[in-house]
């Protein structure tokens, strides 16, 4: 599995070289380039920082310094189910931190971390703009409003069921082939 992921990443890095060529060698493109890298890999691999620095003729430390300034750029691969807990003002007033804690306890990781099996990653975000539904949590892109500790439990059950269904589907496909 790991080597498969490694091969995939190597292929992506190869492709990155050609995609970088689409960007003019202008420093003002640095953030667009970093965004492109983040979208390609779901995080910023070390190798990509060197490639971006090389392309724009900047020191790698400079690129690293810029990338680490912005919240959107991650330096570790995220989980298969990235969980984001909104801690905007409305969510805070309605107990968003309690929801975050419940996820932390349930997954046994802290915010900003990924579970060892890389299934889940957990982070806090500042306002996703659904204040009337506070407190809010996101699994992937799906917004879950009016969260409560018991709903955290429910979310995992649902993910588990979905996962099992997907696996069953996959097995059926395989056996059909």
């Amino acid at each position: 599995m790991d080597s498969e992921a490694g091969r995939e990443e190597a292929a992506l890095l190869n492709r990155l070289r050609t995609r970088l060529a689409d960007f003019e060698k202008d420093r003002a493109n640095l953030l667009s380039i970093l965004r492109m890298i983040q979208e390609t890999f779901s995080y910023i691999p070390e190798e990509a920082i060197y490639m971006a620095a090389d392309h724009l003729d900047l020191a790698p430390s400079e690129v690293y310094g810029v990338a680490t300034f912005y919240n959107q750029f991650k330096f570790n691969p995220p989980g298969k189910y990235p969980i984001k807990v909104c801690l905007g003002t409305a969510c805070h007033v309605k107990g968003g931190d309690i929801i975050l804690e419940n996820f932390e306890r349930k997954l046994d990781i802290r915010e900003g971390e990924t579970t060892p099996d890389r299934d889940f990653s957990l982070e806090r975000v500042a306002c996703v703009g659904c204040c009337a539904l506070a407190p809010v949590a996101l699994v992937g892109e799906a917004v879950h409003g009016h969260m409560a500790p018991s709903k955290v439990e429910g979310l995992f059950t649902r993910i588990q069921v979905e996962k099992e269904m997907a696996e069953r589907e996959k097995r059926r496909h395989e056996s059909a082939r």
Binding site: R27, Y70, Q72, V93, A132, E141, P149
Partner: protein, 657 residues
């Protein structure tokens, strides 16, 4: 709206207008019911996509000749997903339905669209006055608002340029392009428009400075809305993007810029998609790009995505970030209007500021001045959230009081609780008590009170809120978002946060409040940029108006709002607890609830995380869970050594293996 005067329009505009009006006519001729669905981010979060899917399904299945019309955000977040059904043949006016689930959607399609029964029990109100259904205009949430900048939000399809043009869109730009830039600036100056980004700087003056500056100019729309509780800029872009683009083009012409940019948060993926598409549409229609509307004037607009740094909402930070650097603000002057992006004169305006422009140029400076107050003309858009019955986006004329906004328009505090405070302007704003409810809302009154118009985030807090805790929340935010460049903000904000944290944990020390005050004052004066200079506002205002609450925390370890978890404890009132009931025990995420020897429930204070789930779970007829502060007031109930068999453990309740 006055009938279009053909002489004052350019040939290119008239052609666009004709196409747009033709499309409208075609729709009108086809007839049939129209289903308007709010599909902005907040609607989607509440399930509007599923609702639309349900409508699509049932329309196809039953061959109902109705048209689904995707619109943006009406601002009534409490009612999402919102659907307005316009079914002229039924004899009813357009009807506003709230919280339309897929099930409700299918039911309405069958019963209202097919059979003409609007299902009165689900109707929220009619969109027009009539004899059959009460109009929404009779509700103060609708009638006391005054929509100007959000006029078209939730009424038009943000993805359809023709709808905007049919409403008179880009007419102002067409006129402006044939005006002298100085004349445009004159009108904007005469209107008294002040920047809606927070500080309220006169827009006309900013443009004048840019116009007289030397160099290749640039205009930027600042859509890096970062206040964790304000989302009107997002809503406007998602609902009416062309109005913002038209404003940007007007600004560009006035300032003499041939290049424009939109700096938008990437945390708003839908808004990014919508504005990018709008730019493309406008370019194809000749409203942007080369030779706009045949005027010989060029404007290229690009969309730039922010990457998650609140401080980039500060204009010099924004420029740094566009240049591919760390978004650290720099000293002003020089202001961006004289030296901005890559050294070029750069005009940066907020989304709302730009969106007002087409209206001001079309209706005149006098019209704008007739709204609001003398020094703050126009309207203000607030996102009202927190403990309020009807949260959402509200647009009101400047000068309306906070009381009207909170109690009359937004329905007041839910659950019969009392009002405690209102936090205005997000992390740079302040926390105002009841005695300020009657001050008029405008730039200067709010600043005088120690708050700020800021981004327009407004959080209403009921009596069960702790202002110390809320101040800590905001400091936590600014501290995390500080760029780290200057000493006061980088280190000072951290000290403020730590003092507040220890106060909310019951470890406050003598002298902490004085220290907070001293540090806050110095950080306010000594910081480099607006973020640091306003970061202490939540503390300074709450200390001024709620000092005794801070003192109670420090001296008695008590949180009157019962919000600071380390200072509170839950216990179960054994008088009220029902024997054998397991509601609280089954929902407790940490198994802190145990069964006592009398088969009632107790809470193990060591394992309890104080999430309050047991309070929600306890059936209202028992209402047995209590919360107290300070924590030591909770009576201690020992957990029995041998667990007593609870109802869930009984063999007959267990699932068969």
């Amino acid at each position: 709206m006055s009938p279009p005067d053909k002489r004052s329009r350019s040939a290119a505009y008239l052609a666009l207008q004709e196409t747009a009006l033709q499309e409208q006519e075609e729709h009108a001729e086809t007839g049939g019911p129209v289903i308007h669905i709010g599909l902005a981010t907040c609607g989607i979060a509440a399930g509007a996509l599923e609702t639309r899917h349900a409508f699509e399904q049932v329309l196809a299945e039953r061959k109902i000749p109705a048209r689904i019309h995707p619109v943006g955000c009406l601002g009534h977040c409490y009612a999402e997903p919102v659907v307005i059904i316009d079914h002229p043949d039924s004899g009813f006016p357009p009807i506003f339905y709230h919280e339309v689930t897929p099930g409700k959607a299918k039911m309405l399609a069958r019963l209202f669209l097919e059979e003409g029964d609007p299902r009165f029990e689900h109707v929220y109100g009619a969109m027009k006055p009539n004899d059959l259904i009460p109009s929404v205009m009779e509700f103060s949430r609708f009638s006391r608002e005054h929509r100007v900048v959000m006029e078209k939000c939730g009424r038009i399809d943000p993805g359809d340029l023709n709808e905007y043009i049919a409403e008179g869109g880009y007419r102002a730009l067409d006129a402006v392009l044939r005006m002298d830039p100085g004349q445009v600036i004159e009108t904007v100056t005469a209107s008294g428009l002040r920047g809606r980004g927070g500080a309220g700087f006169p827009t006309g003056l900013k443009w004048e400075r840019a116009r007289t500056a030397f160099g290749d100019k640039l205009v930027i729309c600042n859509a890096d809305e970062g206040d964790p509780g304000a989302y009107m800029d997002r809503a406007i872009i998602e609902s009416d993007p062309h109005q913002v683009l038209e404003g940007l083009a007007i600004c560009a012409h006035a300032a003499g810029a041939g290049e424009g940019g939109i700096y938008i948060r990437s945390e708003y993926p839908l808004a990014v998609r919508i504005i990018t598409r709008a730019v493309e549409q406008a370019r194809q229609a000749g409203l942007l790009g080369k030779n706009i509307l045949g005027s010989g004037i060029d404007l290229e607009v690009t969309v730039f995505q922010g990457s998650g740094a609140f401080v980039c909402g500060e204009e010099t930070g924004l420029i740094q970030s566009m240049e591919g650097r760390r978004g650290m603000p720099r000293h002003r002057p020089p202001y961006p209007v004289s030296r901005g992006f890559q050294g070029r004169p750069t005009v940066i305006n907020n989304v709302k500021t730009l969106a007002y422009l087409p209206l001001i140029l079309q209706r005149g400076a006098e019209w704008f001045r007739s709204l609001g107050t003398e020094h703050s003309p126009g309207t203000a858009v607030f996102s009202v959230v927190g403990d309020v019955v009807h949260p959402g986006l509200v647009e009101i004329p400047m000068g309306v009081t906070l009381r009207t906004l909170i109690f009359d328009i937004c329905g007041g505090i839910p659950k019969h609780k009392g009002f405690k405070a209102v936090q205005i302007g997000g992390p740079s704003g302040g926390c105002l008590p009841e005695s300020f409810l009657d001050i008029p809302i405008d730039f200067d009154s709010l600043t005088e009170a120690g708050a700020m118009m800021g981004s327009g985030g407004l959080v209403v807090m009921d009596e069960a809120t702790c202002v110390v805790n809320v101040s800590r929340y905001f400091l936590d935010f600014t501290q995390k978002e500080s760029c780290g460049k200057c000493t006061f903000c980088r280190i000072g904000a951290r000290h403020l946060l730590d003092i507040l944290t220890r106060i909310t944990c019951g470890n406050g020390r003598d002298g902490d409040l004085e220290q907070l005050e001293r540090l806050s004052r110095d950080i306010k004066q000594g910081s480099l940029c607006g973020l640091g200079r306003t970061a202490p506002n939540p503390i300074l205002t709450s200390l001024a108006y709620f000092r005794e609450e801070y003192e109670t925390h420090v001296q008695d370890g008590r949180c009157p709002g019962m919000m600071c978890r380390p200072l509170t404890a839950f216990y179960i009132d054994l008088e009220k607890c029902a024997r054998g009931c397991d509601a609280c025990a089954t929902c407790c995420p940490t198994d802190a609830v145990f069964t006592t020897s009398t088969r009632k429930k107790g809470i193990d204070l060591d394992t309890c995380v104080k999430c309050g789930e047991c309070v929600t779970a306890c059936p209202p007829e028992y209402d047995a869970v209590r919360r107290v502060s300070p924590a030591h007031l909770a009576p201690v109930v020992e957990r029995p050594a041998e667990p007593v068999e609870s109802a869930a453990d009984k063999p007959e309740n267990r699932e068969a293996p």
